[in-house]
Amino acid sequence: MTNVSYVRTEMLPEKEPPLGQSGLVLWLRTNMFSNIPNSLLSLAAIYFIYLLLAGIVPWIFHGSWNVGSLSECREAIAAKYGDGAEGACLAVIRERFRQLIFGFYPQELYWRPILAFVLMLVAIAPVLFASLPRRALWFSGVYPFIGFWLYWGGTVWLPVVVLAGFAIGAAAMSILPRMVGSLGAMILAMLLPVIWWLTLAGATSDTMQSLLPISLEPVESAFFGGFMLSIIIGVTGITLSLPIGILLALGRQSHLFVVKTICVGFIEFIRGVPLITLLFVASTLLNYFMPPGTNFDLILRVMIMVTLFASAYMAEVIRGGLAALPKGQYEAADALGLDFWKATRLIIMPQALKITIPSIVSTFIGLFKDTTLVSIIGLLDPIGLSNAIRANQAWNGIVWELYGFIALMFWIFCFSMSRYSMYLERKLQTGH
């Protein structure tokens, strides 16, 4: 036997794959340069991005932060980088930053909106993230009153007595059914708080204030502005439009002809007209519909209109969810002997809301963006302020810096909302 073998005994070491079949080159080949038209498109896109960056990056890095007007800024940039150099006059943001955030809210009281904003985040957190303790929801329920007090100031007893009205209603709901039956309790639970607010509440608030004066310096609505105003209007609209929208959607699905007609009429009317006409109603007409002599705050009027507007859209979104539920769910709830409200609360709504999360959140985003429309009726939200700043002698002619900043702020809010909705959708996914 010779020792010649024709079969290898040891493995060859693995070779690198040929160049162009792995790593970056392969990825580029498949994703950007798979054929000639694709390659041309990619090159055009890269050139476009280059042009964009070549315009923006030096513009931002040549930016000046420390001047007082647009002409000074242009001079400073020309002196530093030579004639013809383009640069951003970011000084306008530095100078007007407080205004863009707080409007004309008194400076020494800035801690109040800041505290209200932080508390708002605390109040929203348990709603957004189910892992937080459920007990924290109590704070979320009470927050609107704290927030109101912090923003507008005045006596603490006003929000307290309003809150007491809700407490009376809740107490009636839990105690009275044993005495007057569930329907009577429900009616009383709605009536008692109204009676309380209309009769005793004002007097109680005044008495308590004289006994135990706790108050913050009141701030008039006219001083509200900037992103603070957008957030106040937006958040109020968002929190109120969801429950009202749910009720409207249920009303639209109802078998009761009158209720259905009223709901359909309301929804279709609101959806058929632009928000700006409703804001005109808020600014010019709403007082006419109140008893003679009533005059209430413009921001409050705007909030009412924005809420009504958003509720109609919300109702349509939720109706879509209700319609998409299989009929078996309704029938199963009936078969279990649940009454309408129990079936709605335990079976129908959780599923309907879950499948409509993306649309609900886009309605929220739309509402938040729509708060900018208040600038047209003269409120000083960021866009209203930007008009004022551009009309100012020192900053006349400024465009990109100012609008870019406002756009960026809105973008951050709206984009994070849409990301959150994606997260929620994934979390609630129970299918396969």
């Binding site: 498109l41 809105f410 709206c414 849409s418």
Partner: protein, 405 residues
């Protein structure tokens, strides 16, 4: 034996109204109706009292008074002696103008972006994602005022076009001028004989439709296909061109020219119109792109695979298999996007474009002090436009719906 006893016939009791299912819904509806009527009546009586106290009871007489203000952008004859009603009509036409322009351009741009976002080319699809996320997460009002501000601040004044050392120049062979007062583009001019050309063109359009039907019928009966695209292009272009030259070129263009302080001749498109149009287009295109993308993704992959298996080429697969099915998903949300454009066009008031919100809800309202009447008419106008658009689009939606057997 037990006798089945008749249920005791009882008289009607009041409590049945609440606890008997037969009556409960009636009771609740009656209560709801009464409350609703009371509420409406309360609001109406308040309004009547307040308006009477102000000395302006509800009346629409002001509509026939002369308006006394000018509208620079108008599609029909109008001057400051025309009535308020006519001003409102001019405004309504302006609203429709920008809405139709916006719908057309946003659809084109949106479909393009939606399809490009699905592209296999990584960088293109990323760019489109950035476009969509960028535009739809920023308020449309901001885009509108930004576009207007850019036009005013960065475009040259008409005087910059003058002289030998002009700092600005016109584009496209001196036919188009972009100034901070608006865009000037050539305007068609009709000489005698132009009617013949226009009639020929319209006739060739009719011929196009007839030919299309005939070619389809022929394909259905014989299975033979004609090169329809080229024949249609021929019908579209050739007769009109022949007649145009035969009649001695009776249609010309008036080019805008700098005369004095401003451009004369040609169409003047105000930059408020352009800014509004551009902003509405860019903003809504982002939403339409998402609609288109989800529509195309909703067609299951098996459909395109089946089409390939039948031997259809990619272009035909798209036009015959994917798009008809995707359209069914796309059309309903598209309706609401068109309605949104119409409603968002009311933001024209922020840049001074005189749409119906600017005329009826703006100047007329402020001049006459008739808030109630003006806003009622304004809302009625928008409602009727919205309802008309949704009726039309629903009819179209009905016509492309899947016919299930």
């Amino acid at each position: 034996m037990t006798a089945i006893s008749e249920p005791a016939v009882e008289g009607f009791r009041i409590s049945q109204l609440l606890y008997d299912k037969r009556y409960r819904s009636m009771t609740l509806q009656t209560i709801a109706l009464i409350l609703f009527m009371l509420g409406v009546g309360w609001l109406a009586s308040n309004a009547a009292t307040n308006l009477a106290a102000l000395g302006k009871p509800l009346s629409f007489g002001f509509l026939s008074h002369p308006s006394g203000y000018d509208i620079n952008q108008r599609l029909i004859e109008y001057d400051s002696t025309s009535t308020h009603a006519r001003a409102a009509l001019v405004g309504l036409l302006n609203t429709l103008l920008v809405a139709v322009m916006g719908c057309l351009s946003a659809t084109f741009l949106g479909v393009f972006i939606g399809v490009a976002r699905l592209s296999k080319n990584w960088i293109i699809s990323r760019l489109m994602t950035i476009y969509i996320e960028g535009f739809r997460n920023v308020p449309v009002l901001l885009w509108i005022v930004l576009a207007m501000a850019i036009f005013i601040e960065t475009l040259p004044q008409p005087s910059a076009f003058r002289g030998d050392n002009a700092t600005a120049s016109m584009y496209l062979n001196d036919s188009v001028a972009f100034t901070n007062r608006g865009f000037y583009i050539p305007k068609p001019e009709f000489f005698s004989g132009s009617n013949v050309v226009i009639i020929t063109f319209l006739l060739s359009l009719v011929g196009l439709v007839i030919f299309g039907r005939w070619a389809r019928k022929r394909q259905d009966s014989t299975g033979q296909q004609l090169p329809t695209f080229w024949i249609k292009l021929g019908i579209f272009v050739v007769p009109s061109l022949l007649v145009f030259f035969a009649m001695g070129q009776p249609i010309g263009l008036i080019y805008p020219e700098l005369k004095g302080f401003n451009f004369k001749g040609g169409f003047h498109m105000r930059n408020s119109l352009i800014a509004l149009w551009l902003a509405l287009t860019l903003y809504t295109a982002a939403f339409i792109a998402e609609t288109v993308r989800s529509g195309i993704m909703a067609v299951s992959k098996g459909q395109s695979e089946a089409a390939f298996a039948l031997g259809l080429r990619p272009g035909r697969t798209m036009s015959l298999i994917i798009l008809p099915q995707a359209l069914r998903v796309i059309v309903p949300p598209m309706i609401s996007q068109y309605l949104n454009i119409t409603k968002n066009s009311s933001l024209a008031i922020a840049v001074g474009y005189m749409d119906i919100t600017g005329t009826l809800g703006g100047i007329t309202l402020n001049q006459t002090g008739r808030e109630m009447e003006s806003l009622m008419l304004l809302m009625a106008a928008y409602l009727s436009v919205s309802i008309t658009v949704s009726l039309l689009m629903n009819w179209y939606n009905e016509s492309i719906k899947m016919r299930e057997r």
